[in-house]
Symmetry: C2
Subunit: 220 residues, 2 copies
DNA sequence: CCATAAAGTTTGAGTCGTCAAACTTTAGTT
DNA sequence: AACTAAAGTTTGACGACTCAAACTTTATGG
């Protein structure tokens, strides 16, 4: 059984690989994500490589092996089911839930996880719209395109918020943007560095390009 | 904030002190409870003493200080609320729940704990009948007498099972004995080494003295 | 009252995960 | 091609927690 620390590294590597165009995770970003120095990250990567959970050519990017990916999806499943529980059953705040799940995800037996999943009605996505991997390790990825990729006049439905940062989530929630909400792309600035949405029966919101790129939507 | 390990030692010391007539915990029993060697327990006790969480005169028993007791009750509160959740909401088995709560109790923020407590309707006891300490650290102790202390003919109501051993709990549950169940003391053997109960609208059960001493009841 | 078992302590060593700081490699300028 | 900043690695050390095994103290019962 992978230790809590190992699980955290693996999960971070998974997320970073998903985010980066090269499909590899860098040591510096990884260290940052896990909250350690880069030296520490390097030595942990070595240990992970020794246990065949990652591939890490020297002075190059890190990727997960099949075994590593399996662990990552398992952790992610636990994480997202817990987040769903915290929001939909305990009514905790959308934005606060990530850190809490971060700790709980390592303390849940398979059996309890399954009971929880059952209790929640076997949800397919968490409150951020992130898909919940199945028990057998399958995930639906890319259920939408970045908001920044839509043109003026598009009628869209938000599907996913791809960031766990509290401040960002608070801002997004405040704007009324969350999964399943519908909106109209009212304007796209000339330089394409901002986008204005009109939320159905709500106010307008202007998002920077970087914000818009972290919110996924699809045509209604 | 006390580490997970420290919390486990403190909780074990609390429980052992409650159990022992002298009100003190022995190193060997403590080591056994926590699952380490006695040498390890000794050195941890030293650390706990240095942080003023326990009093431990050399070559003598360990007791908690006020600070230590506060932590113990806090951990116990978390533990018992989680057990209640696992049994009453997720329908997990009474006997399986202890180990699970053991892990989860260290990963719950005060806020989430309170939401969970609220969700459960602020229960006063857990599924074993153990009282849940209040958020301010108060506990109702001794809500009943050992079954072994009742005389033939007594009509009793089970209030608490004072053991976390899986096998014992399975046996007790199988006999239909759990908190709030009513029974009649049908017979007490001459030597007082066994007791026979007739559970209301159920079958009769014979308990050894040691089993009966771990089940608390009160007169109906 | 003293031998001895049980309880408790000490010591030396090991693992895990971490840091700071010195070092090496890579990759992007000019 | 040479310089340099950024990325990655190595080293030595540390704290938390653990063990096994040797040791000391306490309690007990013959």
């Amino acid at each position: 059984m992978a230790s809590e620390t190992v699980e955290n590294y693996i999960k971070a590597i998974y997320v970073l690989c998903r985010e980066s165009p090269s499909g590899e995770a860098g040591v510096v970003r990884l260290a940052q994500e896990v909250g350690v120095t880069k030296g520490t990250a390097t030595s942990m990567i070595k240990r992970l490589a020794k246990s065949k959970l990652v591939k890490a050519p020297r002075y190059s990017g890190v990727t997960l092996t099949a075994m590593g990916k399996k662990i990552a999806l398992d952790v992610l499943r636990r994480h997202r089911i817990i987040e769903t529980f915290l929001v939909s059953t305990l009514n905790l705040d959308w934005a606060d839930v990530h850190e809490e799940a971060e700790r709980l995800e390592h303390a849940l037996s398979p059996r309890t996880l399954d009971r929880l999943d059952e209790f929640l009605g076997r949800p397919s996505t968490d409150p951020h719209g992130d898909p919940i991997p199945s028990a057998s390790g399958k995930v639906l990825e890319l259920r939408g395109k970045a908001l920044s990729a839509f043109a003026r006049g598009a009628k869209v439905e938000i599907v996913q918020i791809m960031d766990q940062d509290r401040a960002f989530l608070k801002f997004v929630a405040q704007s009324g943007l969350k999964p399943r909400v519908r909106a109209l792309v009212q304007d796209v600035s000339a330089q394409g560095d901002s986008i204005t949405l009109r939320v159905t029966r709500g106010k307008s919101v202007t998002l920077s390009r970087s914000a818009a790129s972290k919110i996924l939507a699809r045509l209604q």
